[in-house]
Amino acid sequence: MQENNSIGIVTPQTAHFSEPLKLKSGESLPQFDLVYETYGTLNADKSNAVIICHALSGNHHVAGKYQASDKYPGWWDNLIGPNKPLDTNRFFVIGLNNLGGCHGSSGPASINPATNKPWGSAFPILTVEDWVDSQARLLDHLGITQLAAVVGGSLGGMQALQWTMAYPERVRHALVIAAAPNLTAQNMAFNEVARQAIITDPEFYGGDYYAHGVVPRRGLRIARMLGHITYLSDDAMGEKFGRKLKDTIKYSFDVEFEMESYLRYQGDKFAGEFDANTYLRMTRALDYYDPALPFNGDLTAALKNVTAQFLVLSFTSDWRFSPARSREIVKALLDNERTVSYAEVTAAHGHDAFLMPDAHYHAILRTYLSNIEIGCNHAE
């Protein structure tokens, strides 16, 4: 079934931007690259574009495969393709790698043109606001004035929300999934532990490990293991692994329980393919995002100027971005009398549920997306 309606073979593209990007920190990036993929066809009046904002470890490879022999398709392939919930027969879908990433867009591991060496620690710390600004530049590059929708889960959901605030006239619909209007202290605490694991790795070298020909693999591995614990619910972990042993108890610190095997596998895999400096920056962007802060914590005031229509969606077992946090967004939209629907999906998988092809979850997205009219709004 999935193979039949796959978008098929896709090819990433790179857009170069030579105008500087002013950052929230006060710094600026003199020039930058964004790597992106597109699926489907942009219609004549360019009114059917949907941008996918990725979460912490995501990238531009959202759907399809680079070659038929690829083991896995893009990370949200179950959602995007011909006749899938986000139907590429109707929509022109854009996936990109955020700035600071490690999959082709300018980031700490890419070459700083000023020094001809990897940026490393010198690469600025970006925010959700900066990402959305850079994504708007990508839209300009593609000649797209207004998005039919912006879609994102988790940190991607924060970007979707930010889109509606920063560029209200450029977004008709926002699908904000498993997100929050800011992180709780507990949530930021997990990020801090993850960062400490990386920063205290002897091979971190203050972020300039590229020059030493090493990577802080141990730190990144532990950071990812911690992340994985928080992305699953207790129940989901219990169901998946329980107290199952690989063999017998050996009175050692080797891998004895199935859960340990899973965490180590995930940690190793991630540490082999992700850049630690990017991980640090992604978690910081999460920590810093707080659109209500300039409004004394009043999210209703912060969302006063949004005009997009919203679908806000959460998962019952998600304790990292709990339904209560999504309801805060819904309340602020209701206070502003905006067009909003809110779905609280019963799911066992915790935060990771937003990537799973749950039938009801996908039915909600399919229904909402299929009701989106193609054709740009004009300023009232």
Binding site: R327, L334, T339, S341, Y342, A343, E344, I364, T367
Partner: protein, 205 residues
């Protein structure tokens, strides 16, 4: 189980129900429908009165139906109150034939009065003579308006028109208007005996 509590009425009574509610809602006003089911009342009010409508619904299938027909729907359990809604933020809050299935009956009415400038509450009148007949014959009533058996009914707080009048009096709720319907026709004579569906327009005193 909000999905189960919508009562299967004949089309006429159903329409009459909607027609009266439409009479009580102002053109272009902001309406919250609690236990909105598949969103048909809000759709009707949008079409006839161009209201800005939101529904609250717990059931997954109903939520999908609402999204399908373009009704703004918020998935939540009414038993938890209306904490996501500001005081007096709606012109009208509606609870249509759901009151009798609520556990926190008193709380939801008070919450409605907090959120809505006016509220509309409708419920099947347990004092209707056909119900009384069945009780007299020694059975729990089963009818078009109360289609459940005693062992599978979602209805836990059935009341009569007299009971609800008293509830309003005790809670300092002003009855702005009351209409009573049987088989799609209005009943004015002995409503607590001859009325099948009770409809109230209320506000806080």
């Amino acid at each position: 189980m909000q999905n189960n509590v919508k009562i299967t009425n004949s089309i006429t009574e159903y329409r009459q129900d909607f027609a009266i509610i439409a009479n009580w809602v102002n053109f272009g006003s902001k309406v919250l429908d609690l236990g909105c089911g598949n969103g048909e009342l809000l759709q009707f009010l949008r079409g006839s009165l161009e209201v800005k409508g939101y529904g609250v619904e717990k059931n997954d299938a109903n939520l999908l139906a609402c999204l399908q027909n373009g009704t703004n729907v918020i998935q939540m359990d009414l038993e938890d109150g209306l904490s996501g809604f500001e005081d007096q933020s709606f012109n009208t809050v509606i609870l249509s034939q759901t009151l009798q299935a609520m556990h926190n009956t008193e709380e939801i009415v008070l919450e409605m009065l907090r959120v809505g400038q006016e509220i509309i509450v409708t419920f099947p009148n347990f004092g209707y003579w056909r119900n009384r007949m069945q009780i007299t014959a020694g059975h729990m009533p089963v009818s078009k308006a109360l289609p459940y058996q005693w062992y599978d009914t979602p209805n836990v707080h059935l009341c009569t028109i007299n009971d609800f009048d008293e509830f309003c009096k005790n809670h300092k709720i002003e009855i702005l208007e009351r209409r009573v319907i049987t088989d799609g026709k209005e009943v004015s004579f002995l409503p607590n005996l001859l009325g099948s569906l009770a409809m109230y327009r209320l506000k806080a005193q």
